[in-house]
Amino acid sequence: MMVKAEKKKILYVQTSGIETPERLYAPFILAMTARAMDLDASIYFLIKGITVLKIGAAEKIKIGTFPTLKEIIDQSVKTGVKIYACSQSCELMGMPKGDLIKEATIAGAATLNDLVIEADGTLYF
């Protein structure tokens, strides 16, 4: 019997936050494209990156003719992009974990290490 090969995996790590909106679109655009390429795509948010996942934050980010970041996040989730939020980064940035969008899976150090090891490639923003 043929065993279907596991999908290739790509991971994006976002450390930039809402004060640099121009750095926030690329991981989502890339991840959505990865899904179209039949890859598993995950984005892990840590350090300042966590501010992107605060409820209400992405609605306020819009650059030029781009849609709001919220629209991009929603589209990404719909295509199957997985979103992880670093729990200790919430602590670091003084953000209660209840302030995170529901699409984010709260995770920690073991998860990020594991995601990097299991990914076929990782990009850092």
């Binding site: 729990s87 602590e91 709260i106 920690g108 073991a110």
Partner: protein
Amino acid sequence: MELDLRGLYCPIPVLRTREEIGKLAIGEILVVTADDPAAEEDITRWAKRVGQDVMDVKKNGDEVTIRIRRLK
């Protein structure tokens, strides 16, 4: 054996779990309870990575209880 990890945060729950499972005999079960929201994802991934068996994961409000069998 039971391990109470409530009130401890990343990466301590994973480190304590690793320490405690090392005290068990092969085949014995460690039951860990944590309230760090990262613990479920972290501990289950850690177990898979190191080849231990996650038997089940139960959530109760903000707490999660994970049963892990030592395989090696």
